[in-house]
């Protein structure tokens, strides 16, 4: 009798889990999709910040690996030369269509306010073109 009750309870538990789990999985998938969309939108609005964030994530991963293998966490070691496009543009990073500015040059902008080194007319904006 007890064995039969236990069996019924087991079946009920499995059935309940089957009913509850799919929405949770679907919700998780939706949530991930929303997060990805939000990330893309944020990245499009501020590519430099997105790249810095990406770099931090990579550092975090390397830190974890480093604890196990004493890995050098310098993620600049990926000598993939992906910034060496012939057309002067940067390669696409994994995150959507965002073109990442170099993380270590976050303060440097193409054609911005020039340094006050006495060479430039104050208020002028240097510009460059690649042909």
């Amino acid at each position: 009798m007890a064995k039969q009750l236990l069996w019924k309870m087991g079946v009920a538990a499995v059935a309940l889990a089957a009913i509850l789990a799919p929405p949770a999985i679907a919700q998780d998938t939706t949530s991930r999709a929303e997060q990805a969309t939000q990330r893309l939108q944020a990245a499009a609005a501020n590519p430099a910040a997105a790249c810095a964030e990406e770099s931090d994530e990579r550092h975090g991963l390397f830190d974890k690996i480093g604890r196990l293998f004493e890995h050098d966490d310098d993620d600049d070691d990926d000598d993939d030369d992906d910034d060496h496009d012939d057309d002067g543009r940067r390669d696409r990073h994994a995150r959507g269509d965002v073109r990442c500015a170099p993380v270590d040059q976050s303060a440097v902008q193409n054609g911005g306010q020039p340094p006050a080194n006495g060479l430039f007319n104050p208020g002028s904006t240097p510009r460059a073109q690649l042909n």
């Binding site: 060496h84 012939d86 440097v108 193409n110 054609g111 911005g112 007319n121 002028s124 240097p126 042909n131």
Partner: protein, 156 residues
Amino acid sequence: MKPLWTVLALTTALTLPSIAAAREVTLTTTLRDYRGESAFLALYMTDANGAYVGSLWLAASKARYYDSLSDWYRATGGSSAEVSGITGASVGAGRTLTVTLDLADALIDAGYQIHIDTAVEHMYSSPSEIVVPLATAGVGVPVAGRAIINSFTYTM
């Protein structure tokens, strides 16, 4: 009518000095069609004694390679403050980089020199590949580099 002339005289008096104090200078650098990665270029200026004065443009997308531009790096330590606002992408083989700057008039015909350091990863490092005085006599005169610069000219 008098107030109009007064305003005109005042605006002219205020505008002329600023026009006279700066000149638009265009630096055009064409690279040879070498086989290799895109080149990093540092364009900077020294005074008549060869002392570094300031950077004009840095075509280099990663700070970790700045030290390949050895003369420029020696003078600046690769400080991003030196090149903030005047940095762009590296330049591919055979391509032309045109930089347009509003430079102080006092730099022209005063012994100041334009330098260009170049570097190509795993290949060349050519400090001061171009050294030319910023002078009216040099306008439009093409200069060839010893490594990867096919020609450099400036107009103003």
